[in-house]
Point group: C2
Chain length 349, copies 2
């Protein structure tokens, strides 16, 4: 039995979660898996209700679970709160408390989205990348402070922190094309020089993997001009934040991108997009990122590759049949809303 905590969050979070969960029921019947689910408050709405974006009650439930399914958090409503009360603080808090140092973001181009991407087809056809982002270190969690006249954020890494994430990179590369791009800024940053040294050391244990180092500025450029050269990319927290959002363009929409955050016993699965308050409550949001995040949960928490694949194949089928939410709709798409999209996927499982 897999105990899930559902954190719908803010904006479009609740509706994409609501639409997606029935898929899990279907999967549980079909693959004979058992799930229990509890919902909890998290993010801006939790702040409104409890004065805390990550209430203790929620943390209790999370600690007693096997995996967390997160919708999305944040919105302009909470932008002027002090940093520690903002919805983002809940996100950073859950990452840190659960030790989720490994963020996995697959980015895949689908031929059916040719009209939605900015690239000419020859540059993007076949793109299938996994970005592995370190998630509990660097400037996000280093010492930080400010007064009226100055401010600082310390980018801090230990060799152990680098080693464990880079190792994940090599492991994932071994299961794919055996090519790993490590991104740093070793010509300027000491933390990046440590990163590169540790990477070179770990590389000796994976002689089959071709390892390439890129400076982050060049990586950002290469991801635009030649994305097909990449298969697995591993990098530190801030660089990973930037590159993975940038790479989202390759998938045609942020609404297509799932993510898994791993590290300890409990994994967190969430769409890579934000809470999109402008379209919240309108049945317009794309639920596929959430649905694909459920597939990642089946893969990494339940270790059920077959069930994960079943969802992924169903998503491909629905997309190839021309169904699309507004964010991925081209001139010949059959436009559907959040709920209908999720139902279509469910029917294919």
């Amino acid at each position: 039995m897999t105990k899930l905590v559902i954190l719908p969050g803010d904006g479009i979070g609740p509706e994409i979660i609501d639409a997606s969960l029935p898929i899990l029921e279907k999967v549980s019947e079909k693959f004979n898996l058992e799930f229990s689910m509890e919902t909890a408050d998290f993010g801006g709405n939790a702040y409104d209700k409890h004065g805390n974006p990550f209430p203790d009650e929620t943390w209790e439930k999370v600690q007693n679970s096997n995996a967390v399914i997160l919708g999305s958090v944040g919105g302009p409503k909470w932008d002027d709160l002090p940093r520690e009360l903002r919805p983002e603080a809940a996100l950073l808090g859950i990452r840190k408390r659960l030790g989720l140092y490994c963020n996995i973001r697959p980015v895949k181009y689908h031929d059916i989205l040719a009209s939605k991407v900015v690239w000419k087809e020859e540059y993007i056809k076949g793109v299938d990348i996994v970005i592995i982002r370190e998630l509990t270190g660097g400037a996000y969690f280093g010492a930080k402070g400010r007064d009226e006249h100055k401010a600082f954020d310390n980018i801090e890494y230990t060799a152990e922190e680098v080693e464990r994430i880079v190792r994940r990179g090599f492991e994932i590369a071994m299961n794919r094309k055996k090519v790993l791009h490590s991104v740093d800024k070793a010509n300027v940053l000491e933390s990046s020089r440590l990163w590169r040294e540790v990477t070179l050391r770990v590389a000796k244990e994976y002689p089959e993997v071709r390892l390439e180092h890129l400076y982050v500025d060049n990586a950002a450029l290469q991801l635009v001009i030649n994305p097909k050269q990449f298969d697995v990319i591993v990098t530190e927290n801030m660089f990973g934040d930037i590159l993975s959002d940038q790479a989202a363009a390759l998938a045609g929409s942020l609404g297509m991108l799932p993510s898994a955050s791993l590290g300890g016993e409990i994994g967190v699965y969430e769409p890579a997009h934000g809470s999109a308050p402008d379209i919240a409550g309108q049945d317009k949001a794309n639920p596929l990122a959430t649905i694909l995040s459920l597939a990642m949960m089946l893969r990494f928490t339940c270790k059920n590759e077959e069930a994960a694949k079943a969802i992924e194949v169903a998503v491909e089928k629905v997309m190839n049949a021309g169904f699309a939410t507004i964010d991925i709709a081209g001139p010949n798409s059959k436009l559907v809303g959040t709920k209908e999209m999720a139902e279509l996927v469910l029917k294919e499982i």
Copy 2:
């Protein structure tokens, strides 16, 4: 009389400088401007000769000049030196010693390069962006250190440092479309919250400018999916490094991108590309970034807009006539080498 120090540097640096300088002679005749020029060692070759990538002798000459024309520095040959002896240290050194806090990088799409860019034409036609990068603060120059087990780089900013660069952003926006995008990561970093506060304060002095704030991850995505929305972008050092390289894709080649680094009395003008050791000495490098950097020198140091424009117009003419170095050559281009490209521009002035 404008005193120039020429730092050819490493790799393709010497040949793009050699090819470009005759254009300055032509401009000096035509616009009745006087230049003196001295050359000095800088970068990897300076390390080889003097054991120091930024020799005192070079610094003496630079201090006595009005502007510096830099080729490019660095190469794998010097990659394993300690940080302070690497060619990049010379680059960071000259920025800091001259107080070059303001790095200006224009990025322009030319219709003639339609076949060289990865974008479909409708997304890129008309792109004309100026990225203003803070160049002497942040993680580049904050406290940094390491031992075997850990390393750190401190992102440090004072309100004054933010204010002067943001002000440049507003000034440049006032001379263009009166739209300024400020990029930060204020949902996570204290230094970004300071950045945003100062920006909002300075904005009051420029009520005509429409100011937009973007998080850096979203900025990287937007620069790919909708570059036309941008006119002037202002951001801190590291984010500017990443975004300006990424934006280079919009110009079809790094070989098209000039830059100016300003702040004190003496400006530094250099192409945004690297030293490209793989093609050095082969008369293949694109000299246009260097030539356009000379135009920026005429604009900002000599305050001669007419002379600057003369170069820029000449470059446009040569490109529109179909001449191209290998990096920007399409199926119908007339392929030329470094020298010939520069000569063609010279003839158009």
